[in-house]
């Protein structure tokens, strides 16, 4: 099965079969190769690279790639559009302690267990302020992406990754984490010829639901309707959490409930997750999402106002403008969405591009709906599906230590999304 991903290249999978990995691990340890234990963000990105979520990347970026990303929004080949640096940072102290040098083969571990082989081909420095300015358009450290950039250690390692030890994805995420190859196989089984992606890190209110329904209709376009051949892929971003966010379990299970409760169906809706720490890079993150979802096998991608933005750093349509400028180089079609709202005159959820009862519009946002739930009030079913509300309450009890929103206790005591077990 041909699996062409972002940049027109075959999906990269760099995962060693288990028997070969056990043998290779023994050889590496016998040869006393250098070992480095990595933090969660790096472990997550190792997994993403290895399974092709970031195709055509085969490893962490070299300086040439980072320069091209920052200066031209491409990889070092000058052709492939890429907007966010994927970097492996390391301190001078760690370099000295481990003795890692260019062209070394390094065994990466996570929480002490073997994870991957890292073929280090480049060791470099990069001006973090320049990186922040070029990627995020600001050097203010109150921007979460800039803050993350400034927190990088002072040196970077570039080179290919080979995964030795696949992650164990823990419930309730197990059934929702599919690799790009698995996702494409699932789409084929369903007979979908077009798939429109919905990017989310939210529990869905009816505005989100109708955003998906509208995008499904847009994507269907001129296709024949004798049998269902278009699907919505809800691809939840699961990553670093902040106090007050919805807990990951609530996000994934409520989206799936929209299908289970019949607001969508098996024939047109599927929920999955991708492991990634949002950078809130607005337009640049939109380009990254387009590449990521191309790799998942999507043909279309929803982009609303201020996609993946934060605060007032980006204009509401900046992401759309940037996407338009490189659309010819992408293998995914953007579907732009207007805001959905409640109109009491129409008595329904409608769209600001359709309804003209402007003075009567009742706009709502994820923030407002969160505020209602925090108040302990059940929102009306036209705003929030009762089945979704019930799942929120259940997940709060089962996974959130009594809260549907991230608390300090949740951050300390939650079951991790994935674990790396001993390789034996």
């Amino acid at each position: 099965m041909e699996m062409i991903g972002h940049g027109g290249k075959e999906i990269v999978e760099r995962v060693m079969p288990k028997d070969a990995a056990i043998k290779r691990l023994k050889e590496l340890r016998a040869a006393k190769v250098k070992e480095l234990d990595v933090r969660l963000q790096i472990a997550t990105e190792v997994i993403d690279i290895a399974y092709g979520f970031f195709s055509p990347l085969e490893g962490f970026m070299t300086k040439a790639d980072v320069e091209a990303v920052c200066n031209n929004m491409t990889l070092a080949d000058g052709e492939t559009v890429w907007s966010i640096p994927i970097v492996f940072d390391i301190s001078e102290e760690e370099l000295q302690k481990t003795g890692i040098k260019q062209y070394d083969e390094v065994l990466l571990t996570y929480q002490g267990n073997p994870l991957a082989i890292f073929d280090v081909t480049d060791i470099f420095t990069y001006d973090k302020k320049e990186m922040a300015m070029k990627v995020y358009g600001t050097t203010e450290d109150k921007h979460p992406g800039v803050k993350r950039t400034y927190q990088y250690k002072d040196k970077f390692l570039g080179g290919k990754i080979t995964l030795l030890n696949p992650p164990k994805i823990n419930p309730p995420f197990t059934e929702f984490w599919l690799t790009p190859r698995q996702m494409r196989e699932r789409f084929k089984e369903k007979g979908w010829v077009r798939i429109v992606n919905h990017q989310t890190r939210n529990v869905p209110h009816t505005g989100h639901e109708w955003l998906c329904k509208g995008a499904w209709l847009q994507t269907y376009g001129e296709l024949t309707i004798e049998k269902p051949i278009v699907g919505v892929l809800v691809n939840a971003i699961i990553g670093e959490k902040r106090v007050g966010d919805y807990i990951d379990e609530a996000i994934i299970l409520t989206h799936d409930m929209l299908r289970k409760a019949g607001y969508f169906g098996e024939h047109n809706h599927m929920t999955t997750c991708t492991l990634w720490d949002m950078r809130y890079a607005g337009p640049k993150e939109a380009i990254f999402h387009a590449a990521l979802r191309t790799n998942l096998g999507c043909t279309h991608h929803m982009f609303g106002r201020d996609h993946a933005g934060v605060g007032t750093y980006y204009g509401p349509y900046d992401a759309h403008h940037l996407l338009e400028s490189v659309k010819h180089k992408l293998r995914i079609t953007p579907t732009y969405s207007m805001n959905w709202l409640y109109c009491p005159h129409c008595g329904e959820i409608t769209n600001e591009g359709i309804c003209d009862h402007k003075k009567e519009w009742q706009k709502f946002s994820g923030t407002v709906v969160r505020s209602i739930i925090i108040d302990g009030v059940k929102p009306p079913r036209l705003i929030y599906r009762p089945e979704v509300f019930d799942v929120i309450m259940e997940t709060a009890e089962k996974y959130g230590f009594g809260s549907a929103f991230v608390t300090e206790e949740y951050l300390k005591r939650r079951t991790p999304v994935f674990t790396i077990e001993p390789l034996e």
């Binding site: 106090v243 946002s365 923030t367 302990g376 009306p380 705003i383």
Partner: protein
Amino acid sequence: MAETYPINIWINEERFEKLQKAGLEGLTQEMLAGLKVLRVPTNEQQRDKILKLFPMAKYDSATTKSIELLPKAVKDQIFDMIVSKRTIDVIDDFIKSVEK
């Protein structure tokens, strides 16, 4: 009239009963598909003070132009002050009580 930056207190049956007893039910508005809300006004200075005192709160500048995400206990406290004082002009007193 000076611009206000309301705190939305969403009204369930329990809160509505308390408002009725205080004769304040007329202060609520229908905001979302029939859901009632009590909009407690704040001026710019009060808004900034509240956002500083409760950093988890957010001013929703894009959609509703209101202060959202205040913890329930905080909103309960504001609501109880409104009911006991029979007025929605309670924000100065509320801020003073928190700063104590």
